[in-house]
Amino acid sequence: MRGFTHYISGLAVATFFPSLVADIRMGILIPVIAAASAYFPDFVDFKFGKFFARRDYEIDPAPWDEKKHYAPKLVRIKDLSEKNRYQFFAIEGKVEEILTKGSGTISYEIIEKDGTVRTVKEEYNSIIFTLSDGTGKIVVDAFGDDYRFFEEEFGQIEEGKEILVFGYVDVDPDGSLRFVVSDAPHPQRIADTIAEAIETAYEEGEKIVKIHNIRLPGDVYRRFVVHLDPPKREVRVEMGPIVTPGGIAIGGEPPEYRKYGIAKVNVPFIKTYPKPTRIDSFSGPEIAFRRTKHRGKTVVKDRFLPWHHGFSHSMTMGVIIGIFVFLFAKLFGYSHATDLALASMIGQWLHVFEDQLGFMGSNLFPPLTKDVIPGFKLGESGSGLTNFSTAWLMIALMIWNFNRFTNPRPIPISDATLLLYLIWPSIIGFGIAIAKSFKLRREINELMDYYTNLEAFEEMEEVGGI
């Protein structure tokens, strides 16, 4: 659920305590602590936990320019190395020598929507030249669609011309660096790193991958999508269009020949959520890969945002919050400390329960329980339907409580009738969400059955690991 849904749940919980309602009515605002407690788990995770989280692999396809805070970063040639392969940069320098300029036919594979691979042959023009920036020199290569763009931008390239060129770093078979003109990084590095993380997790237990997003000038982002494909044992990364922070694509689709990165994974893994991970605006995600048992078989399982829904999202934490609020309120001499502590604890528990309705689930009773209990899969955290239904229910409950605890009642009808008048939108909303969730849960179960019966898993056990 979204933050405000949790927050308003805490606000609503406080209104179930007549003593707190009376205080609020008199202008004593301390019961707002119950709302803050209900939001606390997300506050802790997103304002602190996220920044403390361990990162075993950090994927930054397009490092930011330190002054401008967007990509591409202006780099000096001497600072580039093999480690930067496929990363997106800008280089400013002088054209030293034009090596070749010509045309030919290129053939490359593209992946259709159904996952099948098709080979395409295409005519292309190209230019290869060396660029020097005073710190070193590098071979620059522009071909195909990128050549067309390059020609439009720079016109006729001549030796001695000063240019600012952007693209990704590549490494030739002999180990020398090459700079390929492009408007996006190549996705292969992302795919390779994720595949490596999965394989290492299979050996060592757990690896966390931080994937940074690609921010471009004008507060727009290059979208890319990570597909984990357990049946094919592949990680596929697809470079997408440039999008606004609101997710609207504004063009800039990369050409097919540098759109996909595919890396094979040599160990069995499963994906717990049946959708690919999309990375565009805001910040990039962290994904933990953990070795685990899936129906008796050793596999690597993914977990999105591993720092989220940990101890902060447990019932145990709710008890701690309750005790802390009680002591705090007592210290300041608040006369309804017990009610406030209870409201705060229940508010936090409501947060945990509301999140449990989704996919991620939480470790509910640490230290008694050690692992996450899967969510009920009623809807995604960003679902407008479930968020609105819950928030509306809380607003309805607040109005209902305010009315019940006021004498004479501002709305002079029976409690049951008023409640029904107020909550019907939420009942309809939840009804639709539950109906929709059946389909999704069926899909996930089918996927899990498929993993279990996958031949590759059996084969692995027979040969004792791949």
Binding site: H212, G247, F402
Partner: protein, 440 residues
Amino acid sequence: MLPLSDILIWSFAGVLFGSLISWIPGFHIYNIIALLVAVFGVGEKMPVEAFPFFGLGAIVAYSYVSAISSVYFSVADESAVFLLFPTQRYLLLGRGHEAVLLYLIGAVSGTLILVLGMLFIFPKVLPPIYQATSPYITYFLTAIVLFMFMSEWPKEGDRGRTVKERLWLAWRQILGGILVFFISGILGFIVMNTSVLPTTSAYTRLTPMFIGFFGMSWVILNILSNPPMLPQKPEDMIESSIYNTLKASFGGALGGTIAAVYPIITGGMGALVAGHMTSQRGDDAFIISQGVNRVLYYVGAFSLLFLPNLRLTRGAGAWLVSSIYTPKSYSEYIAAIGVILLAAGISFLFTYALSVVIARSFNVMHIKKVSYFVAAVLVVISYLLTGWMGVVVLFVSTVIGLMAAAFNTRRSYCLGGLILPVLVSMTGHTGAFMHLLGLG
């Protein structure tokens, strides 16, 4: 009640007046109406009973036509806090006209929702709900402010090399927002509770502060950033869907209604709450929802003045008008609904036509030159309404508005200028706060 012909004439005059000034960046209809009252007065040239309809026409026009300044000239008031950045992007892509069209879709949707609400829902539902919840307004307001602080999304921090660096990058923005809120609050407290501004400016004493927070600071940013005047496409095309439009309309209406009904809660705060409640995503949905939100917030709030069984005065426009004449009968309420429809129709056509003209000739006059002119006019307005001290307040609040931009934080934190003094007053701590500031 005035004859229908007079109502039509005066409301039409209001629409015309509102349309002519609302597209100019930095101009807010409330300030301009206050200026009109201060300079010309009401009662001589305009009958007092006509003033609410004149005001209604002007406010409807503002809620439509101000889309032009928000989209093409990057200046909007706080209620457009979410609108600003998506529209800037549309403008940079040459799709400013499309952003205006999306906004207009929202505004029309908002008008229909408002009119239907005024006809069938507000008279019956609003009074009991308001009566049941109004004693708890301070609680809601405090809760929203606290949520604003708690929910600030750190825009940076991910790329810090160490934990310490990541935390600092994230928290400097959050702390900056808190600082802006409290400095704004102290300024607002001084403006409201001391004689720094002349007592003759009772109805307009907050005007220079708000001009500084939301108008002047953005005009100055326009001058400093010197944005490129890129060619704009004047074609009538939008990229959205019926689903997005309906969802955005619902969210916008929710936020706008909350802001319209409850005092101090502004359009931007309402949008924040409703955006979370309905989980809105997408630039098109944002812009549409802002169209709905602003109509509900501005026109809806003002219309509550006409509702005989509720009689709520919401917003600076309503306070100004009610000080001269408050409508009393259902006939005036029904007439107001008619005026909203008429004014919305005219404002829609005016905004659309103006957007086409501006899109076709966008690079004729540079925004920087317009901004210099507007900055001078804003200083003059502040001086005429509140004297030289008003200009000083304008200067200070402009600096605070610029601080919000420098910290990359929410502009709506500047609302601390209104929220903090009101909260202090509502909780009965004005004297103690005065003492704390060394003012009494």
